[in-house]
């Protein structure tokens, strides 16, 4: 670690010295390229925040670049507003447009988000082309003034740009190590997980989108002021794709990648357009195609491979084995040891709204869920009291996981009502329910694979319990002693503290299941839904998991879906039996064991003709 950090510091220092010395060492056209590259770096840094950290592949950055450029151009050349006020107005315009575009687009995902940002960009571009009276149409607008008389020369303007670049680079670096930065990386990895942890992912994504939009607007203002000219190219698909190419070519999700990419693409573009003027666009086309084939991880990825820290480049090797599997015995020891202390010491009063009187903590009234013709849940009604431990059993396809999805707000029921501590939450989203103290695990492990174990826990802690830090961009996450202390406690309890720096995708499956439970407990929930915690585990791992479950705090209400009946019967007092979407039995473990219907269905005793599994 230390060595790597030193290495980065030396590189950063060399980079800074080079950038400061550009006007002295490079010829005039080199200065031109460097100025443009710095401007585009700001654009690419913002885009990288979206693509690399939030997981939003946006073609919209060119919109805010162009809107700011045109606002500056129109105000200064048509209305003779001074540069300073016009630049402020331009930043404001870019921000407002980013907010509006973000409002309609960030709730969409993947391909559809890409399509919608593309569509909005293209329509606005078309508008600029046709609205010639104001925008100058295809000819653009000339006569954009320089920011100040002393900035007219290329060298002063270069340093002006360098200053702006340094500011935005600093901001983006701060964001990547801030609580907000980790929160948005969580969304990139597993948005659903973040929602069930209490994150309102929409607002976080919107915030990232607007921050990136402000950076694009700043770059647009600099470009217009440097070129003294705004043209439809500044709001075009070409610019949007070049920005993307910069980010990808440099290395998506790395701090310096976008800058390397911006210098690379700008330099290449310049050289090509000078030396092969007729063919350069065609060559750029080839560059786009070839780089997507041969450089999917960008130059930074290539450099990483070259340096030989092959682990990140070739994940399969370790993922199979899982690190430190020999530590397993000691992990079990940790858990058993911990069980004496228990999870139950509650230093702070649980910030939950579920602790009201004797009313049921969870009540389902006539819950039904249909997928088209198929009724997966049918008229489920039940009441659960605080501190109860309840097992849910049923054959595959009985509707157990769907029931959990409906309770936690991932799917909405087609009928009926859900009450959490007397409050009707049927229409409330997953993150609101999480904030009422509801937490869950998933049958198929739902973690943040490319975040470390520690970062996973930090994300979980900030979901609800420390949500005041979700939007904090100005401080390092490592400088939040309280949050880190809780993270350490949690990880020590599940025995994962030693491997806190591992990325989760390299963990063994057993460790992942344990981490899954730690995430669910991070918010100090009052109610926990465990969806098949032992699914896919080895015998040894199942024993560890049972020990872990046995240490859950006593006042925590637990619903557990499990196929290993011994786990259920050991742990719960009450068992619900689901069959083909209906609740066919609800009673104590003894009653359930004795129930003929259950014995038929589940243990295959007697007539099994009704137990058709589909």
């Amino acid at each position: 670690m230390g060595k790597r950090r030193l290495y980065s510091l030396v590189l950063a220092a060399l980079g800074a010295i080079f950038l400061a010395a550009v006007p002295v060492v490079l010829p005039a056209y080199g200065l031109d390229i460097a100025t443009l590259a710095l401007i585009f770096s700001i654009l690419a840094i913002g885009l990288n925040l979206l693509m690399g950290y939030t997981g939003l592949d946006s073609l919209g950055q060119a919109i805010f670049f162009g809107v700011a450029g045109y606002t500056l151009g129109i105000l200064t050349s048509r209305f003779t507003v001074g540069w300073g006020s016009a630049a402020l107005a331009a930043i404001a315009a870019g921000t407002v447009v980013a907010l509006l575009v973000g409002l309609v687009s960030v709730r969409l995902r993947g391909l559809y988000f890409l399509l919608v940002t593309l569509a909005i960009l293209q329509v606005i571009w078309g508008g600029v082309m046709r609205w010639g009276e104001v925008t100058g149409g295809a000819n653009g607008l000339s006569g954009v003034p320089s920011p100040a008389t002393w900035l007219r020369g290329t060298v002063p303007f270069y340093y002006f740009t360098l200053l702006a670049f340094a500011i935005f680079f600093g901001i983006s670096y701060l964001i990547t190590v801030s609580p907000f930065g980790i929160a948005i990386r969580g969304i990139r990895e597993r948005e659903l997980r973040s929602a069930t942890l209490g994150y309102n992912t929409y607002w976080l994504k919107l915030t990232a989108f607007v921050v990136a939009g402000v950076m694009a607007a700043a770059a647009g203002i600099l470009a217009a002021s440097y070129n003294r000219f705004v043209s439809p190219r500044d709001i075009s698909l070409d610019l949007a794709f070049e920005a993307m190419l910069m980010v990808i070519l440099g290395g998506t999700g790395t701090v310096t990648g976008p800058i390397i990419g911006a210098f690379g693409v700008t330099g290449l573009r310049y050289l090509l357009s000078v030396y092969v003027e007729d063919w350069w666009l065609m060559i750029m086309g080839g560059v786009f195609i070839l780089s997507t084939i041969y450089l999917p991880e960008g130059i930074m990825g290539l450099a990483r491979r070259f340096r030989g820290s092959s682990r990140r480049v070739n994940p399969t090797d370790e993922a199979v084995e899982g690190p430190r599997s020999s530590d397993r015995e000691s992990v079990t020891a940790d858990i058993t040891e911990v069980s004496g202390v228990g999870w139950s010491e509650r230093s702070e009063p649980a910030a939950s709204n579920l602790e009201m009187g004797s009313q049921p903590i969870l009540e389902l009234r006539g819950i039904g869920k249909r997928f088209g013709e198929l009724a997966v849940l049918d008229d489920i009604g039940l009441e659960i009291r605080r501190g109860e431990r309840i097992g849910i059993i049923g054959l595959n396809g009985a509707g157990k996981t769907t029931l959990f999805h409906v309770i936690s707000g991932i799917e909405s029921p087609t009928q009926g009502h859900i009450l959490l501590a007397g409050r009707d939450v049927t229409k409330m989203p997953a993150h609101t329910r999480a904030s009422f103290g509801l937490s869950r695990t998933f049958q198929v492990t739902l973690l943040y694979p490319r975040l470390t174990v520690l970062e996973n826990i930090l994300v979980a802690l900030m979901g609800w319990r420390f949500r005041r830090y979700q939007f904090a961009m100005w401080r390092r996450i490592s400088r939040l002693p309280e949050v880190n202390r809780h993270a350490q406690e949690l990880l020590q309890r599940v025995g994962l503290w030693e491997i806190r720096e591992e990325e989760v995708r390299y963990l063994s499956y057993g460790h992942q299941r344990q981490l899954e439970i730690a995430l669910a407990l991070a918010g100090k929930p009052t109610m926990l839904l465990l969806d098949e915690p032992t699914a896919g585990l080895s015998q040894v791992e199942i024993r560890e998991m049972r020990a872990l479950i046995a240490t859950l705090p006593l006042d925590l209400t637990v619903l557990i879906v499990e196929h290993h009946l011994e786990v259920i019967f050991e742990y719960v007092e009450r068992v619900l039996v689901l069959h083909e979407g209906r609740l066919i039995a609800d009673g104590t473990t003894e009653e359930t064991r004795a129930n003929d219907l259950v014995r038929n269905l589940y243990f295959g005793i007697g007539d099994t003709s009704t137990a058709t599994e589909d």
Binding site: D57, M282, G286
Partner: protein, 286 residues
Amino acid sequence: MIGDLVNGIAFGSLLFILASGFSLALGVIRVINIAHGAFYMLAAFLAITIQQKTGSLMLGVAASSVLLMLIGGVLQRTLLQRFHRKDLPQVLATYGLLLIIVESCRQIWGGYPQIARTPELFAGTFRVAGSIVPQYRAFLILIALLIALILWYVIERTSLGALVRAAVDDEEMARSMGVNVERLFMVLFASAGFLAGISGALGAPILGAFLGVEFQVLPLVLVVVVLGGLGSIPGALVGALLVGVIDTIGKVNFPELSYFVLFAPMVLMLSFRPKGLFGRQETMER
């Protein structure tokens, strides 16, 4: 007014033929083909050249559609298949292809706009409710309806269509049932190219061929798809007719702002019904 309306519907019909190919690739293979507008441009240039050489636009339509069918098939097989279901590399690669096609057209045909002559067969006009309607526009509307009908029939009523629907619903399952998904996608992308080829050639007497036409049609196609819903053919038809009429009437009445008139329905749709008129929910928000 009636004349504008008919012209709008005719333009919408042309847009439908173009957008249906785009929508097919988007809905089934999940590729945003940025080069779709460039396909249109290439087809238009080629059709005009063939008309100039042989005097027949229909020959141009045939040649353009076959050429773009081939380009589409080869593109899917050699390039896009590598990035199956990876949105970003696909989009970047099709943008690279767009640059290459546009530059090739510039090298071959130069920068001057060209326009095809209306085929003699449809050169006349007729009157509808007092307005003069060129026969060629009516012909376009008929062709679009025919294509819509064929697409509907193939997708809903034939075994090929059943395979396509199966592959959309659950590609892995379709694969494990022995469907050659790669070949299916190649056929589909070839069809998308074919439709772009037809629209470019048929549009040559109306829009003509010039550098920049690719970006004149692409935004319209995108608006059509957002309005109609991702990958929906009926959605593409309704969306295209809507956009065609709005754009044509807007251009006549307030030429400079007509684009923003298009923008409004798109933003409204995104705000209140992001899946579009006929879109499927699960493809949108997950």
